[in-house]
Amino acid sequence: MLFNSIDFLIFFPIVTTLYFVFPHKIRNYWLLAASYFFYMCWNPKYILLLMTSTFITYLSGIVMERIKQSDREEDKKVKLKNWTVAASFVLNISMLFYFKYINFALDVMTDVLGLFHISVNVPTFDVILPVGISFYIFQALSYTMDVYRDEIYAEKNIFRYALFVSFFPQLVAGPIERSKNLLKQLAKPNDFDYNNARTGLLMMLWGYFIKVVMADRLAVLVDTVYNDVSAYHGMELVVANLFFTIQIYCDFMGYSIIAKGAAKYLGYNLMSNFEMPYFSTSIKEFWRRWHISLSSWLRDYLYIPLGGNRKGTARKYFNLLLTFFVSGLWHGANITFVVWGMFHGICQVIEDIFRMIFGKISDRIKNQAVARAWKGVNIFKTFILAAIGWVFFRASNISQAIQVLKASVKLDNVSAVFTGGIYNLGIDKMGLIMLGIAVLLLFVVSIMRENGVNPIEWISSKHFVVRYATYWLIVVLIIFSLDLTGKEFIYFQF
């Protein structure tokens, strides 16, 4: 069930209305049932995976809690806890590996053996990727780790814990919630709150706007180009990549905002997944602003346990590259994602080396105008690097990505694109105008947020006419983009 589907339009009001109508005692059960139903709409069979992951991590939490409270020696306790957490990780990662990476791993193995002229007949497993598996397994594992690190007590109520893993707004594409945030909130069912509901609905409206008006419209052009890359060159490819850079942001951010809004309507606060990443001045900062729930997960549960930056420069870079290797792999079972992840890792290593050699240049600039210009240059540089990285993310294979990058360099048809050639890429004049308005709106909202202004509070404080004119503009733009809907969110595939 997609957020941008009729099904969800029916599902959401029914679930939320009944949630507030039911007595407190059964509200969480209701939400759990609704969340499971939500997940089963994709493939009912895969609910077993979700339940299995939930049960394993729940059990590991309980076991670790028992170990903690037992009279055993501390060493033994640590050992037992280590075994428990390892078992939970192995089982969960095995599930993830089988359903997401088995065929990829076999392909890689065949290719590697091929290098040594060893030919093997490797079978292909007929596995359909369960939607959201990477998200909920990582979320469940974060709980295991938090219990292991004594950061939280193990949750005793299995239903509440199951709801934490499967909470429908963030089940299939995050944010990858932390037990410290969401599990605590689930302990106490909420009553209907006008402000929460209003804010939640406005967030959802904004999320739909970002997804439907921007991401889906940009997707038309991007898909047109990427479906036949060899037919395009120069500026067309640059435009397509530029559009994809915005599309992926709008697609994923749109989903995250709808998810946050849906949870907010019910009275739950989910973590922010995006903080204007394209205003970053470095790739390192980009990852503090992009897909925050994943990058912080990798930082807390992979990079820091590996030693982080505490074990020398060489080890720091190794840890960084390994973390981004995992990040790339997490996104998909394809070498393109690995390259994308490594590209970001390498960029950060280079940035760090530069910083070590030249120091932080911005600190040395005293003139404010020059400092602002320098910041602008860095934002632009980071944006371009991110855009180059997205080529690997979007391309179906490495050779296509290289083909795109090579052909993009020859800017031989700049004028053609800007004198109507863009209409050959699947977007018409009306679509382009709508896109222009939408980009402007998004830019204004991003600037507001960057300057610490909450756009929802800002618009709520305005006169009735301004407020409703804005809502209506957004609603009209959404309606006139509905012919593009039905497109899945890109991050669902991860």
């Binding site: 589907s5 009729i6 099904d7 029916i10 209907f192 006008y194 509901a197 209003r198 609905l201 409206l205 018409d428 009306m430 409703y468 809502y471 209506w472 609603v475 009209v476 309606i479 006139f480 983009s481 509905l482 012919d483 809907t485 039905g486």
Partner: protein, 459 residues
């Protein structure tokens, strides 16, 4: 509770553009529907309304049927409810809707080309656009599709079936916005669609007209006749519906061009299928018209052009004299024939359309021995050419009219018709519909000496 009401009110207010667009979608379909859907919309409006008039013959089928059966030639109580691209699914519900609101006809003629029967497909999107189905019908179709094991149709996967059905039923913009945007890009569709709608009205539902272009290919070999499980189910339902309502059902396999080849196996399959289908039907027949039509009467491999449709309709009149025997065309039928005349491009064919109808054709020609040309290349049946003035002639098809011509003014029984461009070609025509007392068409042609024939009319 107060806060819930407040939130609800604010939601309703914030979504005002949505309500406005939904109302627009519901109330003004002709403003945005694509030209292909106007016929389906007219059809839906017609079948879901109680008609003032009784129709004794109803035509169902696809575009081949929509083209070939010409109510303007058959009778005033014939309605052509065939729809382009449709299959027995739409046909069944069209008849069901019609019967729910109107007295059953005595005869129903059904005709589907092979490929509309072979595929598990129907015009789902068009049906949604024009609100052909209610929830009951959507459910019935869904169950039948599920029973037959179909996973998608019209490129719509089955798991999107209900999304689309519900969205259409509630006039949700997602199903209509593409048409609305196209309409805006085209500068509005209302007037064009309104004209098409009126044309279909005049033509008694005949929504598919193929002009007189001639097919560039012919000679298809038919060696396999297969009916998909879904279409087969609805074909049976259609037969049963006619039986239940005491309607004589005529399943017609339309004539094809003479280069068409049917293998023996194909012939056996067709005959076997219909023998089986109509086994228990008491009031039904299957009639297969042979492939003996000229290639020139076809627009493509399957669709007859206007010339072919004329001949087929006249053949039907001869084959079903009780139903479509001699009748005086009504004023509406005459208007439809006027439209046929207006798209006629062959001077030699012009006089067929007017035959036995109350038309007067006035001709002005400076050709020597015009009467000879007329008798040799234009005259149809026993139409008589008479002289009105120097160089001016007329054919009074039904006879009994007082016709005069002077300086571009034609007077018939006191009605005056201005004819400004009467001297532009070798032969100039003014065709007057005496029933509606209007000029049906003015046109001219030149004689092509090299080929010994008159040039085609420019359309």
């Amino acid at each position: 509770m107060k806060n819930v009401g407040k939130l609800l009110l604010k939601c309703i207010l914030a979504l005002v553009p949505l309500w406005i667009i939904c109302i627009f979608i519901a109330k003004s379909p002709l403003s945005y529907l694509s030209s292909d859907s106007v016929g389906a919309y007219w059809n839906k409006e017609f079948t879901k309304t109680k008609q003032d008039k009784y129709y004794d013959a109803v035509i169902l089928g696809d575009s081949m049927a929509a083209t070939s059966f010409m109510p303007e030639l058959l009778s005033d109580s014939t309605i052509n409810l065939a729809l382009s691209g449709s299959s027995p699914i739409e046909g069944y519900y069209t008849l069901k809707d019609y019967l729910a609101n109107n007295e059953a006809p005595t005869d129903v003629f059904v005709s589907y080309m092979d490929y509309h029967l072979a595929h598990n497909d129907f015009t789902f999107t068009t049906c949604n656009q024009v609100h052909k189905f209610g929830i009951g019908e959507y459910t019935e179709i869904y169950k039948t599709i599920k029973d037959t094991g179909v996973t998608e149709f019209e490129n719509v996967p089955m798991d999107e079936y209900w999304d689309k059905a519900i969205a259409s039923s509630f006039y949700m913009p997602s199903e209509y916005i593409a048409s609305i945007i196209n309409s805006i890009n085209e500068g509005g569709r209302l007037s064009v669609n309104q004209d098409s709608y009126n044309q279909i009205d005049i033509r008694s539902g005949r929504s598919c007209i193929m002009t007189n272009n001639i097919s560039e290919t012919s000679g298809i070999k038919y060696d396999n006749y297969s009916i998909s499980p879904l279409q087969g189910t609805y074909y049976k339902k259609l037969v049963q519906l006619c039986e239940d309502n005491g309607i004589a059902l005529h399943i017609i396999k339309l004539p094809l061009d003479m280069n068409t080849l049917f293998t023996d196996e194909y012939v056996a399959q067709v005959n076997g299928y219909y023998m089986n289908l109509l086994n228990d039907a008491k009031l039904a027949e299957f009639k297969w018209y042979p492939a003996d039509y000229a290639v020139e009467w076809f627009w493509d491999d399957y669709h007859m052009n206007q010339h072919g449709s004329y001949r087929f309709s006249m053949q039907l009149k001869a084959d079903y004299p009780k139903l479509w025997g001699e009748t005086n065309p009504s004023a509406t039928q005459m208007l439809a024939v006027n439209e046929d005349i207006n798209i006629e491009n062959e001077p030699a064919e012009l006089f067929k359309w007017v035959d036995e109808k109350d038309y007067t054709i006035v001709m002005y020609s400076k050709l020597d021995d015009f009467e000879g040309y007329f008798n040799g290349l234009m005259r149809f049946d026993d139409q008589e050419l008479r002289e009105a003035a120097d160089g001016a002639y007329f054919v009074d098809v039904k006879g009994g009219h007082n016709v005069s011509f002077e300086d571009g003014v034609v007077e018939i029984d006191g009605n005056v018709y201005e004819w400004g461009d009467y001297n532009t070609g070798d032969v100039n025509f003014l065709i007057i519909d005496n029933t509606n007392k209007i000029i049906a068409r003015t046109c001219s042609t030149d004689f092509n000496n090299d080929e010994g024939r008159f040039e085609r009319f420019e359309l």
